[in-house]
C-alpha cells in the first residue's frame, strides 16, 4: 500500500480538538502523523484551501441488500457513500430477509468487505421480522457484527415489548434506536399534518405522533436505566423532550437528518413525491427547533436516513408513493449550510458526522488520532455545483435536491489509507 501525504489543508479532527493547517501522513493504512512535518510519500495530495477531516460516519442508511437490490445494494450504496465522503455507515435491518439473524448480518459485512470501499456496520432488528413481538437474539447478533438494534421503518410500538427490549439490550450495553412513530396517530398519513396537508387534501401525520412515542420511551429508559437513541428526530416537541431527558442525565441521544434541518413541508406542495419521507418534512418552527437542538448539543449526530427507492415507487400520486429520499451524496453540502448560517462551527458540525456517532456506537473510526485506521475525507467547503440526480452513484435517484445549487464538494475519500474516491471518480 502506498503512503499518502495530504499537505497544506485545514485539518479538523474533532475527537482530538484539532483545527489548523497541517499535513496528514498516512503509512500502512494508518495515520502516522498530523502536524507540520512533511515526509516523502508515494502519493501526495495538495489540500491547500481544502478541509481534511476523518471519513464521515453515517449511522442511518438503507442499503436494500438483501432483497431489494434494484433500489440499492451494498456496492452501489458504498459508492454513493464514498462519493459523499462517508467511510463508515450503518445499515438498517428492514431488508428481505430482515437483519434479524447472524447469518444475514455476516453476509452484509462480508459483501462490504469484498467491495472494500466503505465500512458497513449493520444495525440488527430489535424484534424478529420487525414484527414488534419477540426479541431477537441480540447477543448473537452483536457477536456477528451488529452495532445497535432498531426496527427502523417501524417503531417498536408496544410499550411492554419496548421495555423488555431496553432492559435486555442494556444488560449487555447495547443501544436501542427507535423510529419514533405512534402508528395509531399517523395512520394513513403521507405528509406532516397541518395547513399543507389540509390544502393538498391528503392525510397528515401529526408531529404529536413522534412526540408521544419519544415521551413514552424516555420514561421507559428512565425506568430501566437503558441506552436509547431517537432516529431522524424531526419535531420541536421531540427535541424538547430529548433536551430535558439529557439534562436529567439519562443515556439518551438523537440524530437529525439533513432534510429535516434544511427543508420544510412546503416542499411537498405540487404533490412532490421526492419530498415525501417518514418522518415527514415538518414546519419551519420544527426545522428551527432541530437546528437549535443541533446547535446546543441536544442532537449530537447527523445521519442521512438514506432511503433509495425506484422511480416506479415515486412516479405516482403523493399518497401512494414510497417514503424516503437518498442522502449519502448530499449529506455534507447540505449540512454545511448550518455553518454558513452561523448555527454551528465547522468542527462542531464535523463532530456530529464523525466522532460523535463513532463514540455512540463504539466504532474504531471517526478520528485522525495517531495509529488510527486512515479513513479520511477531504472537501472543498466553497466549491459550488449543481446536483444532477442522474449522476448520483446510488442506484436510486429520489432526491429533492435535483438541479439545486450545492456548496461544498468532496474531493477525496480515503479508506484504510487507500484513495477510494477522487474528483468524481471511484477507485474500486
Amino acid at each position: 500500500m502506498m503512503d499518502v501525504l495530504i499537505h497544506g489543508g485545514r485539518v479538523i479532527d474533532p475527537a482530538n480538538g484539532l483545527d489548523g493547517i497541517a499535513n496528514v501522513m498516512i503509512k500502512d493504512g494508518c495515520i502516522a502523523a498530523v502536524g507540520e512535518g512533511k515526509h516523502k510519500a508515494g502519493t501526495e495530495i495538495d489540500a491547500s484551501g481544502l478541509i481534511v477531516c476523518p471519513g464521515l460516519v453515517d449511522m442511518h442508511v438503507h442499503l436494500r441488500e438483501p432483497g431489494q437490490e434494484w433500489k440499492e445494494d451494498v456496492e452501489s450504496g458504498s459508492k454513493a457513500a464514498v462519493a459523499g465522503g462517508v467511510t463508515s455507515m450503518c445499515c438498517m435491518p428492514n431488508t428481505t430477509p430482515r437483519l434479524d439473524h447472524a447469518g444475514v448480518i455476516r453476509q452484509v459485512i462480508e459483501r462490504a468487505g469484498e467491495i472494500g470501499l466503505c465500512n458497513v456496520h449493520p444495525i440488527a432488528a430489535v424484534t424478529k421480522n420487525l414484527d414488534g413481538k419477540e426479541l431477537t437474539e441480540m447477543r448473537e447478533l452483536a457477536h456477528a457484527g451488529a452495532v445497535a438494534f432498531s426496527d427502523d421503518g417501524m417503531p417498536v410500538w408496544h410499550g411492554g415489548i419496548m421495555r423488555k427490549a431496553l432492559e435486555y439490550a442494556s444488560s449487555f450495553g447495547f443501544l436501542i434506536i427507535q423510529h419514533a412513530e405512534d402508528l395509531q396517530l399517523t395512520q394513513d398519513g403521507c405528509v406532516n399534518e397541518g395547513w399543507i396537508s389540509t390544502q393538498l387534501g391528503v392525510e397528515g401525520m401529526p408531529a404529536e405522533g413522534e412526540d408521544d412515542m419519544v415521551a413514552r420511551d424516555i420514561m421507559l429508559t428512565r425506568l430501566v436505566d437503558a441506552r436509547y437513541h431517537v432516529a431522524h428526530i424531526s419535531s420541536k416537541g421531540a427535541v424538547e423532550l430529548v433536551r430535558r431527558a439529557r439534562n436529567e442525565g439519562l443515556k439518551i441521544s438523537a440524530e437529525a437528518a439533513p432534510h429535516h434541518f434544511a427543508l420544510t413541508e412546503e416542499e411537498v406542495l405540487g404533490f412532490n413525491t421526492d419530498a415525501k419521507m417518514n418522518p415527514p418534512l415538518r414546519t419551519e418552527e420544527d426545522r428551527q427547533a432541530v437546528i437549535e437542538g443541533l446547535s446546543d448539543g441536544t442532537i449530537e449526530i447527523i445521519a442521512t436516513d438514506h432511503a433509495p427507492h425506484h422511480e416506479d415507487d415515486k412516479r405516482c400520486g403523493l399518497s401512494c408513493a414510497a417514503f424516503g429520499i437518498v442522502g449519502l451524496e448530499t449529506m455534507l453540502p447540505v449540512s454545511l449550510g448550518l455553518v454558513r448560517d452561523g448555527m454551528l462551527s465547522l468542527p462542531d458540525l464535523l463532530a456530529k458526522m464523525t466522532s460523535n456517532p463513532a463514540k455512540l456506537l463504539n466504532l474504531d473510526t471517526g478520528t485522525l488520532s495517531h495509529d488510527a485506521v486512515a479513513d479520511v475525507c477531504i472537501f472543498d467547503p466553497e466549491a459550488t455545483w449543481r446536483l444532477d440526480r442522474n449522476k448520483l452513484f446510488s442506484k436510486s435517484k429520489n432526491t429533492p435536491w435535483h438541479d439545486k445549487a450545492m456548496t461544498g464538494k468532496v474531493t477525496h475519500t480515503i479508506k484504510g489509507g487507500r484513495i477510494v474516491f477522487e474528483h468524481g471518480t471511484i477507485h474500486a
Partner: protein, 329 residues
C-alpha cells in the same frame, strides 16, 4: 387555458368567464334540439376511477351536446391503485390522441401528476381525492347566479364532512377570489387542521351558524375516504347535530337556499322535506352542471377549427435520440 386542475389555478376573471359562458349554455340544454357544433371533431375521454353518476353523465352530456366524440371509462380503483399503472393507463389513452381527458381519482394530485407525462392532452379534474373539484364550484356559482347578481358578500355555510371534501376545499379557494364568505360547520373529527387559514369561520354548533347564511350547503359523509370509523359515533347522533331539517331551515332567513353537491343521503345530512322544498336548489345544480362543463370543455378546446396533427412528445424524444445515435436518418 390548457388544463383545469382546480380553482387554485384560476383567477377571478377566469372563474367569472367560465360561469358566464356556462349561463349561455343553460338555454341550449332547454331547447328541444340540444346540439351545437362547437366541439365537432374533438375527442373527450371520461376516465373515472371512482364511482360517479352525476359528474360523469354531466361531462358526457356536455361533450355530446357540443358535438364532441365522448368515451367513458370506469376503471376500478383497486386494479389501478399503484401510480405506475395509473400512468400506464393515462399514457395509453393519451396515445389515442384525445383532446381532453376528464379524470376522477381517489388520489389527490392525480391530474397534476398525469399532466407532467401527457404533454399533448388537456386534463380536467373531475375530483381528486379530498383535494379539488373545480367544476362543482363553477356549477354552484352558475346556479346561484340565477338568484344573485354576484356572490360578493354572500355567506355560504358548508355543513358536514369538511375533512374529506374536495368540494369544501374548492369553495374555500373560490370564496377568497370572489369575495364571498364561507362558514364551515362540523365536529372537529370532520375538520382538517388549520382549516381556518382558508379565511373561513369555523363552527361546531350548526344552529349558531345558520343566522346570516345565504346558502346552507350540505355535504355527504365520505365514508369511503375515512381512515377510522370514529369520525362520528352514529348516524342518529350526526343527524341530530348536523342534519338539515325543517326546524333549522326555519331559523334561516327567508332568502336562504339549500344546496347539495350530491349524492344525498336523505335522513342523514338532510331531511326529505327540506331536500324537496322550494328552497332547495339541488336539481338546479344538476342542470347547471351540464352547462358549466360545456363551458369548461369549450374553453379548453376552443372552437371548431382543426389543428395540425400533433405527435407525442415521447415519440419525438425517441426519434431525436435515435437520430443522435445515427440509427435514424
Amino acid at each position: 387555458m390548457k388544463h383545469l386542475f382546480g380553482i387554485a389555478q384560476l383567477s377571478r376573471e377566469q372563474i367569472e368567464y367560465l360561469v358566464n359562458l356556462g349561463a349561455s349554455f343553460v338555454e341550449l340544454s332547454r331547447r328541444s334540439v340540444k346540439k351545437a357544433p362547437t366541439l365537432r371533431g374533438k375527442t373527450i375521454i371520461n376516465l373515472f376511477f371512482e364511482n360517479s353518476t352525476r359528474t360523469r353523465t354531466s361531462f358526457e352530456l356536455a361533450g355530446k351536446r357540443l358535438s364532441a366524440d365522448v368515451i367513458n371509462i370506469s376503471a376500478s380503483t383497486s386494479a389501478t391503485k399503484k401510480g405506475e399503472s395509473l400512468l400506464d393507463t393515462g399514457e395509453t389513452l393519451a396515445a389515442m390522441q384525445p383532446h381532453v381527458l376528464v379524470i376522477r381519482h381517489a388520489i389527490a394530485g392525480t391530474c397534476e401528476f398525469l399532466a407532467d407525462y401527457l404533454p399533448d392532452t388537456s386534463i380536467v379534474n373531475a375530483g381528486d381525492g379530498a383535494h379539488e373539484h373545480p367544476t362543482q364550484i363553477l356549477t354552484d356559482l352558475l346556479t346561484l347566479k340565477q338568484t344573485w347578481d354576484s356572490p360578493q358578500g354572500k355567506v355560504i355555510t358548508i355543513v358536514g364532512d369538511i375533512a374529506h371534501s374536495r368540494v369544501a376545499r374548492s369553495h374555500l379557494l373560490a370564496a377568497q377570489k370572489l369575495g364571498y364568505s364561507v362558514r364551515v360547520v362540523a365536529p372537529k373529527t370532520l375538520l382538517p387542521l388549520a382549516i381556518e387559514r382558508f379565511g373561513c369561520e369555523v363552527y361546531h354548533d350548526f344552529d349558531a351558524a345558520i343566522p346570516g347564511s345565504d346558502v346552507l350547503y350540505m355535504l355527504r359523509m365520505q365514508t369511503e375516504r375515512m381512515t377510522s370509523s370514529c369520525c362520528f359515533p352514529s348516524i342518529r347522533e350526526y343527524h341530530e347535530a348536523y342534519g338539515l331539517n325543517r326546524r333549522r331551515l326555519d331559523m334561516a332567513g327567508k332568502d336562504c337556499v339549500v344546496m347539495h353537491p350530491g349524492p344525498m343521503n336523505r335522513g342523514v345530512e338532510i331531511t326529505s322535506d327540506v331536500a324537496d322544498s322550494a328552497r332547495s336548489h339541488i336539481l338546479d345544480q344538476v342542470e347547471c352542471g351540464v352547462a358549466v362543463r360545456m363551458a369548461v370543455l369549450t374553453a379548453l378546446c376552443g372552437g371548431g377549427q382543426t389543428e395540425p396533427v400533433r405527435r407525442s412528445r415521447k415519440r419525438e424524444q425517441a426519434e431525436a435520440a435515435m437520430k443522435a445515435q445515427g440509427k435514424l436518418l
